[in-house]
């Protein structure tokens, strides 16, 4: 708390915005991440490699390109964005929601890969056991597969969160740098690096990012350790 009050208003704004954006990016994409990971880990279908490739796309392309793609798709004149606006009055571009989407898209491949690895590590024999005990595939997934894959899901979440915290290229391209709306920590940091004589302020922002990420990482490690300990108890 006392830390909070030693922050400048700009820092506070950027920090809370970053937490908001990264938090929503992770929470919002988690169900899709789990779904995609499950499809990749457990299904076989024509075009699976293509699907896998599509999911990796945001990792392979420079973030700026991803940002342009988002702008074209989700901008108010974009294919999806226009439709969202016309029908629901939702604007993504130039809002924190758009920043969350940019972060989510960029972090998505990392999340999916971690969850997928965890799902692949789950013993199919245990799933079979659950099936014979009366659980349908969906119930089995939630009562056996997911709990067993939990440490991996957690790893995916934390990777995605960390990646979101540092997301800059796609975000600034898609939603610009708007104070109080899209000026997250990395964007504020970028702004500082574009004008001379702001090294100290930039360093402070760096430290804030690192502290947040460390805290999240630590929390996830403790959680994961507790989960593992429970399985051995």
């Amino acid at each position: 708390m006392s830390l909070w009050f030693t922050l400048t208003p700009l820092e506070r704004e950027a920090l809370s915005l970053s937490l908001l954006v990264s938090g929503w990016a992770v929470v919002g994409s988690l169900p899709f991440g789990i779904l995609a990971a499950w499809v990749l880990a457990r299904r076989d279908f024509p075009g699976k490699s293509l699907f896998d490739g599509l999911i990796h796309l945001p990792l392979v392309l420079p973030p700026v390109v991803v940002g342009y793609a988002l702008l074209v798709l989700f901008g108010r004149k974009g294919i999806i964005g226009g439709w969202l606006y016309d029908w629901f009055g939702i604007t993504l571009a130039f809002t924190w929601k758009g920043a969350a989407i940019a972060s989510a898209v960029v972090a998505f491949p990392l999340m999916v890969r971690a969850i997928r690895m965890a799902l692949e590590g789950v013993d199919r024999g245990l799933e079979q056991a659950a099936r014979t005990l009366g659980c349908g595939p969906i119930r089995t997934f939630f009562s056996v597969t997911m709990p067993l894959a939990m440490p991996g899901v957690l790893a995916g979440v934390i990777l995605a969160f960390a990646r979101s915290l540092s997301e800059f290229g796609a975000t600034i391209t898609f939603v610009s740098n708007i104070p109080g709306e899209t000026r997250t920590l990395p964007i504020a940091l970028y702004a500082l690096t574009q004008v001379p004589g702001t090294d100290d302020a930039a360093l402070r922002l760096c430290i804030i990012s690192v502290v947040v990420a460390f805290a999240a990482l630590l929390a996830s490690e403790i959680l994961a350790r507790r989960m593992r300990a429970r399985m051995e108890g």
């Binding site: 013993d123 024999g125 245990l126 079979q128 056991a129 659950a130 099936r131 014979t132 005990l133 009366g134 659980c135 349908g136 595939p137 119930r139 089995t140 009562s143 056996v144 709990p147 067993l148 939990m150 429970r230 399985m231 051995e232 108890g233």
Partner: protein, 368 residues
């Protein structure tokens, strides 16, 4: 009722088995690698037959012709796996509850407390499976399958890692379960004692093929299957009736057409049907009724056939009031006694060689 007719290839191994088994316990018996686990996996819906049909109690679970293939969860079965497969993320209690909690209360036929006490796992309920010993895991796995109140129970060597004492507690419990709730059980085992104790029907499997199937009595009484059922295991199985109860000596007297047999006390009302397995090597033959002998069961019998097996062993088939009773003696003894078909002799069977495991009280299934 269990109707199985399935074929499946896996790698070099091909399985092709068809049989129908009545309700009660069907034992699958066969050497390691003969295809027992593969077979019950198909019944469970965990692997798909290349072609065939599986029906349990009139309900078709699988039919390659109509393309029907019920998923495992719709088959309402309990499966005790060869490698236990407990859920590591759940406590023993939650493992046990796993199948029950989704059942409507009305369909829960087995109580947790009862299962826990029979299995002796009360002190483990709050533990996780990881730290359990091999036998403890196996017991929890049995409990988990039972508590799902299944319509058919598949058990793959469930007692292999249990000690004798625990085994003899569990066997009657499993047998009782099948009878009480009329659950067909398919039971894979290497132990003849277990098979005898539990099974109504015995299916002998070898190299993916059904060698024989029939009532346990018939198959175990036939020396033809001795190589498969185990050489030392040849014997007779008699269907008898509990006739009297000598409380003073804790002895029960069983009557069958060939006379009476005294065995350790069976706590059932007189008139109950009982199955007795008598190992051929436990039956001695006397030319004259002996006196002053501790052997309780002395049955008059007629020699029906004398079959030398080799220079050591000779099998003698006796007729005890119409029931076949096999005796296995040394060839040396035969050379001394010179038994011939038609001779009247006395068959001697020590009460105690009829182990408790060999006497199965079947009053719950067969009409008294």
């Amino acid at each position: 009722m269990l109707e199985i007719d399935v074929a499946r290839r896996q790698g070099d191994f091909s399985l092709d088995v068809a049989f129908t088994a009545g309700s009660g316990v069907t034992a699958l018996f066969g050497r390691s690698g003969s295809g027992k686990t593969s077979l019950i996996n198909m019944v469970a819906g965990l692997s798909r037959p290349d072609r065939g049909r599986i029906v349990v109690d009139g309900k078709v679970l699988f039919d390659s012709q109509s393309g029907l293939d019920l998923p495992p969860e719709a088959r309402r079965l309990g499966y005790v796996f060869q490698e236990h497969r407990l859920f590591p993320h759940l406590s023993v209690r939650d493992n046990l509850w796993f199948g029950t909690k989704r059942l409507p209360v009305a369909e829960r036929r087995v109580s947790l407390d009862h299962v826990v006490s029979v299995l002796g796992i009360g002190h483990l309920l709050d533990r996780r499976p990881t730290g359990l010993s091999g036998g403890e895991k196996q017991r929890v796995a049995i409990g988990r399958a039972l508590l799902a109140s299944p319509r058919i129970l598949l058990m793959d060597e469930p007692l292999a890692s249990l000690d004798a004492a625990r085994k003899s507690e569990l066997l009657p419990f499993i047998a009782g379960l099948s009878r009480q709730f009329d659950i067909p059980i398919v039971y894979v085992s290497h132990s003849m004692e277990e098979v005898l104790r539990l099974a109504d029907t015995l299916a002998l499997i070898d190299a993916g093929r059904l060698v024989a199937i029939g009532p346990v009595e018939d198959l175990l009484s036939s020396p033809a299957y001795a190589p498969l059922t185990g050489h030392g295991e040849a014997g007779s199985v008699l269907a008898a009736t509990l006739s009297a109860d000598e409380a003073e000596f804790s002895i029960s007297t069983l009557s069958f057409p060939g006379g009476t047999l005294k065995v350790g006390r069976i706590a059932s009302p007189p008139g109950s049907p009982v199955r007795v397995r008598i190992h051929a090597h436990d039956v001695a033959i006397a030319l004259f009724p002996p006196v002053g002998l501790s052997v309780r069961n002395q049955l008059p019998a007629i020699v029906r056939s004398v079959t030398p097996i080799d220079s050591y062993l000779t099998d003698v088939m006796l007729d005890c009031g119409g029931c076949p009773l096999w005796s296995r003696i040394t060839t040396e003894a035969q050379s001394e006694l010179s038994l011939k078909p038609g001779m009247a002799v006395t068959a001697l069977i020590k009460s105690l060689t009829i182990a408790r495991g060999d006497v199965a009280d079947r009053s719950d299934i067969l009409p008294g």
